[in-house]
């Protein structure tokens, strides 16, 4: 009975993760997660399953042209470095907009580190190699900053902060900052967004599978319960 119950709990976990993925399927730069389970063994007949962990899947999402005035995407591995006050986070969501104070912020208020757009800028663009260029009435293509991307020794150990933001942890190692645009390295795509890497069809299939497995496990609990009931009634004839 415990084995079947552990299976129900596992499917519950699976459903929660798939639901979370699906809910964010339309969020630019979102990375899906996957759960890992392991079987519990003791002697010949096992004792069910246990949830071992959850990891983000950092597979590249499709880049799509978005037309946003400051939309950027990373073609290749790496993260944007964003800050809010003293808090620093890393994200692949490049859906930024220009704030009144010149900062370039995302929807949750995190600003791109070290980028401040002067008030007289008419147009802003970002080159492949991360150089931020502005057009002012006086000059065209003046460089005001250069975006640097962060890479990690173990990106899968980053701590999710909700949505598309991640924080560095002991296990992920410290961020290593690098300039994009190297010949075989990642580059910046301006006016593009990275779609989430969630496959809606695959998520739906996972939900169906989890639901069926949950029901089947519930049957197992029922059957075990029924056997105990019968055994209890043996004596009364």
């Amino acid at each position: 009975m415990e084995a079947a119950a552990s299976g129900m709990a596992a499917q519950q976990t699976q459903l929660e993760i798939v639901a979370d993925n699906l809910a964010n399927a339309d969020v630019a730069g979102f990375k899906s997660s996957a759960a890992t389970f392991a079987d519990v063994r003791a002697g010949a007949i096992g004792l069910g399953t246990t949830s071992v962990g959850r990891h983000a899947v950092f597979a590249q999402g499709k880049l799509v042209r978005s037309g946003g005035p400051f939309d950027v995407a990373i073609d290749g591995p790496g993260f944007f470095v964003v800050e809010r006050g003293a808090a620093r986070a890393y994200t692949r969501n490049g859906e930024f907009s220009r704030d009144a104070d010149g900062a370039v912020r995302d929807a949750s208020g995190y600003a791109l580190a070290r980028v401040r757009i002067p008030a007289d800028a008419l147009a802003v663009r970002v080159e492949r190699d991360g150089r931020v260029l502005i057009d002012t009435p006086q000059a065209k293509g003046r460089e005001i900053a250069r975006l640097r991307l962060a890479s990690f020794a173990a990106p899968e150990a980053l701590r999710p902060l909700g949505g598309t933001l991640f924080a560095a942890t002991e296990r992920s190692g410290a961020a290593h900052l690098f300039a994009p645009g190297a010949p075989d390295g990642p580059s910046i795509a301006f006016g593009m967004l990275e779609r989430s890497n969630v496959s809606v069809v695959e998520s739906m299939m996972q939900i169906l599978g989890a639901q069926r497995a949950y029901e089947a496990n519930a049957k197992g609990v029922q059957a075990a319960d029924e056997m105990l009931r019968i055994a209890n009634n043996l004596h009364r004839g």
Binding site: A4, Q11, V57, A59, N217, V221
Partner: protein, 195 residues
């Protein structure tokens, strides 16, 4: 062994078969899991149920992570002191290839420590910066598919069927046991009535 003991052992056997089926079902989402098949043996002391692991190949699904490895064929990965077919690995910050519990994946010459550019080829060799670093100790003919995971071989419909079968077998044994018990009750109390 008399009839009641036989039926008791049949009920225990049905219960054990249920345990095997529920263990399988619980692991319907465990990557690399291979379903166990219940084995029933007739012994002079009643029915004895065991379980043995089956060796069917699980379906493979793509994940896109570099160090997710699926085995096509026999064999298993060595992580720490144990072996597993669950190939969900990642590179930790020191370069070790670890599973979600932090256990290190072993090659033929010990735990694997690689750079970010490392790849694992179909024959199990670990390539890192243009040279061969090590090889996963796998039997001949087994191929490794990187960027994919082998899913559980459990089929929920089959296991549900096994649950129902075990449940009915349990009931049958119980009914038979009760019938034998009722017969004995009659024999003891009614056939020879002591005046």
């Amino acid at each position: 062994m008399d009839g009641i003991e036989w039926m008791g052992s049949a009920m225990r056997a049905a219960r054990a078969q249920l345990d095997v089926a529920t263990h399988n079902l619980a692991n319907a989402s465990t990557d690399g899991f291979r379903r166990s098949a219940a084995t029933v043996a007739l012994t002079p002391r009643g029915l004895s149920v065991g379980a043995r692991e089956t060796h069917e190949q699980g379906a493979v699904h793509r994940t896109g992570r570099t160090f997710d490895l699926a085995l096509l064929g026999a064999g298993a990965f060595r992580v720490g002191e144990v072996t597993t077919r669950d190939g969900a690995f990642q590179r930790d910050k020191d370069g070790w290839i670890v599973d979600d519990r932090g256990r290190r994946l072993h090659g033929a010459c010990g735990p694997l420590r690689v750079s970010e550019q490392a790849t694992i080829a179909a024959d199990g060799t670990v390539h890192d910066r243009g040279r061969i670093l090590d090889r996963l100790p796998l039997p001949g003919g087994t191929r490794v598919l990187a960027g994919a995971l082998e899913t559980s071989t459990v089929n929920p419909i089959g296991e549900t069927l096994a649950i129902l079968t075990a449940q009915r077998a349990f009931e049958t044994a119980e009914k038979t046991l009760s019938a034998i018990d009722a017969t004995r009750e009659k024999a003891a109390n009614d056939v020879v009535r002591v005046q």
